[in-house]
């Protein structure tokens, strides 16, 4: 989720809750104020009516006073002793032609020895209109406030976070292999300035470490190969003498072969570390189908000596962007593996489509679990000459280029599939 949409989400939820609470509260507060005002008015009208009644004798005959909306005067025989009360009621309005809300105040009074029950009925219509109007205004203000906040926060965030995104773009372009020193834009924000200077420090450190590691790998390779060459060549000189017993010759040969193994192991390990260090960045466009055929031709005699039947099923002609050395290590390892672990008179099948490459071979069942197959130094069987790094190299290359590799054993066929 993007930073902006996350902050927008929090703003939105927060503002929504606050506006709802504020809106509802102000509605009730305004309503009660208006109500009280209305009631005060009713009581005031009551006082006015009583005064009018006491001052003007003939008022009892007139129903249309300029006080309330509707006044009912009812003569009572004895003192009704009604305590003044206010109630809401619904009456039919013949002008509006519908039922409307009214509020009545009822009280009793004694005018010239007569007792009267008096009711002033006042329409609530204007009050309701007022409440509605005020509510609408509140809602509109809230909405305006709301949208302004969101728009403002978007604009401000974009402006504030601009150096951050610029930095992000810069780091994305950073490549340890070709470390151009990062040049960040100047920013007034202290946090971003700190971020940039920390990043600068870190990337410099990373480039430095990378360079050291690369040098170390190359140097160890160099330093180890020379003593190995000395051992190997001394033995070659030694065995030219005819004075050795068979036992001594066997030992000498074992030393010689161990040296060869060590040198191959070193080669593979430095290849692995080179892949890990992204030292194979350049790519070439490789047409797979002729390439695979050439690779098979290259090992034709190994195939013929084991009398393995090879078949191709090429249904596509994909082009891979891959480093040449990596392609060689990848496909050669798979093919050699399929020959090495094959049986006499076995079969080897290469299947190529535009989306995957599959190599199938007959062979003895694995005694390594399928999961461990691609791990370093896992060997099936006791092939002391294999370094156990072949498939690990394959997997590393596959991962490096974002392909995927799967192994399946179906009816004594070993299937390795690389999906591009």
């Amino acid at each position: 989720m993007k930073l902006l949409s996350l902050s927008n989400r929090y703003y939105f939820v927060g503002l929504l809750i606050i506006s709802l609470i504020a809106g509802i509260t102000s509605y009730f507060v305004i309503k009660s104020i208006i109500n009280n005002e209305f009631n005060d008015k009713l009581f005031a009208e009551k006082e006015e009516l009583i005064e009018e009644l006491h001052q003007h004798d003939d008022i009892l005959n007139s129903y249309n006073l300029n006080i309330g909306d509707n006044i009912a005067i009812q003569k009572a025989n004895s003192d009704p002793q009604i305590k003044t009360f206010v109630r809401d009621t619904v009456l039919y309005d013949k002008y509006e032609k519908k039922e409307l809300n009214y509020r009545q105040i009822t009280f009793s009074d004694k005018v010239k020895d007569d007792f009267y029950i008096l009711t002033i009925t006042k329409s609530l219509l204007s009050t309701e209109d007022l409440i509605q109007g005020v509510t609408e205004i509140i809602a509109i203000i809230t909405l305006l406030f709301f949208s302004t906040m969101l728009v403002l926060s978007n604009i401000i965030s974009k402006k504030i976070w601009k150096p951050f995104y610029a930095t992000l773009e810069d780091i994305k372009k950073f490549n340890v292999k070709k470390p151009n020193p990062l040049t960040f834009n100047k920013t007034k924000i202290i946090e971003f300035r700190e971020l940039n200077s920390t990043l600068k420090l870190m990337t410099n450190q990373v480039s430095e470490d990378y360079r050291n590691l690369k040098e170390y790998t190359e140097n160890t390779s160099h330093e180890i190969q020379t003593p190995l060459a000395i051992i190997k060549n001394k033995i070659e000189v030694l065995i030219q003498d005819s004075g050795f017993s068979e036992k001594q010759l066997t030992s000498l040969n074992q030393v010689y072969e161990a040296t060869s193994r060590l040198s191959r192991l070193k080669d593979n390990l430095s290849l692995l570390s080179k892949i890990d260090n992204n030292q194979f960045i350049e790519v070439t466009e490789l047409r797979l189908s002729p390439y695979l055929k050439a690779r098979i031709e290259n090992v034709e005699e190994l195939i013929s000596i084991k009398n393995i039947q090879t078949s191709f099923r090429f249904e596509g002609d994909p082009i891979l962007s891959i480093h040449e050395t990596m392609a060689y290590v990848l496909f050669n390892n798979l093919i050699i593996n399929a020959i090495r672990h094959n049986v006499e008179n076995g079969k080897l099948e290469l299947i190529l489509t535009n989306t995957y490459f599959r190599i199938k071979n007959t062979g003895k069942p694995l005694n390594v679990s399928e999961k461990e197959l691609f791990e370093r130094f896992k060997k099936s069987g006791n092939h002391s000459e294999s370094s156990g790094l072949g498939l690990s190299l394959v997997q590393r290359i596959v991962r490096y280029y974002g392909f995927s590799i799967t192994y399946k054993n179906i009816d004594s066929w070993h299937n390795i599939t690389i999906t591009f």
Binding site: Q225, T226, V237, L249, Y256, N298, E301, T325
Partner: protein, 225 residues
């Protein structure tokens, strides 16, 4: 035949010289760039064997100098770096071959012979071992003057044996010569045995002797004693 060996690792140079002198070469050793430049300037060698990493600079400088002199010397680079860039730049400026440490002396010997052969190019040039004649130009082999049909690997094998005649060659060295690093050793031995069997049979079919002697557990020796 005169060789100049430029190698700063004395123990290694010692083995190389020991092996090559028995081959009848006259070897001179220098262990730094300055001396190597001086020597190659003063004398004409048939082949220079140059280690790239020298204490006082890169062996590639010697190649540049030798090329500027328009010398006919063959040049073989020996390097501990199996870096493809080194290989390419070395061959680009005029080296004839490139060997990566650790190498086999038999391999170095065969390469030196091949380089010298190519330098003194002559289509009539043949290598003879008793009744067996190898013509590197035609890539053909004759036994008692009759051409025998060999596969590419069988041809490589007999040329390698004749180049290293009378020497004990470890089977690992032969396998590496034929297949490079592509195969694991035990695998390639099976293939080696089968090639050897075929080669012996073909030579014997044409009345040739079997000169390939097995040296117990170590390898083979091509000789007529």
């Amino acid at each position: 035949m005169k060789l100049l060996i430029v190698e700063d690792e004395f123990l290694l140079a010692d083995s190389i010289i020991n092996y090559l002198e028995r081959e009848g070469y006259y070897c001179e050793l220098v262990d730094n760039l300055a001396d190597a430049k001086q020597k190659s300037w003063d004398h004409e060698y048939d082949c220079l064997i140059i280690d790239i990493n020298l204490p006082d600079g890169s062996g590639l400088d010697i190649i540049t100098q030798v090329k500027e002199m328009k010398s006919k010397s063959g040049i073989i680079i020996v390097s501990a770096r199996n870096a493809i860039e080194d290989k390419i730049s070395g061959l680009d400026i005029g080296a004839d071959d490139y060997l990566t440490k650790p190498f086999n002396l038999a391999e170095l010997n065969a390469r030196i012979k091949a380089v010298i052969r190519r330098r003194n190019f002559d289509a009539q040039n043949v290598i003879t071992f008793n009744e067996i004649t190898v013509s590197p130009y035609e890539q053909s082999v004759k036994v008692h003057n009759k051409t025998i049909k060999l596969t590419k690997k069988e041809y490589d094998l007999i040329l390698y044996f004749i180049s290293n005649k009378n020497r004990v060659i470890p089977k690992g060295a032969i396998a590496e010569h034929l297949w490079g690093d592509e195969m694991g050793m035990a695998d390639s031995y099976d293939f080696l045995y089968s090639h050897l069997k075929n080669l012996r049979k073909k030579i014997c079919d044409f009345g040739g002797n079997d000169y390939i002697q097995t040296v117990y557990s170590v390898g083979y020796k091509f000789c007529d004693q």
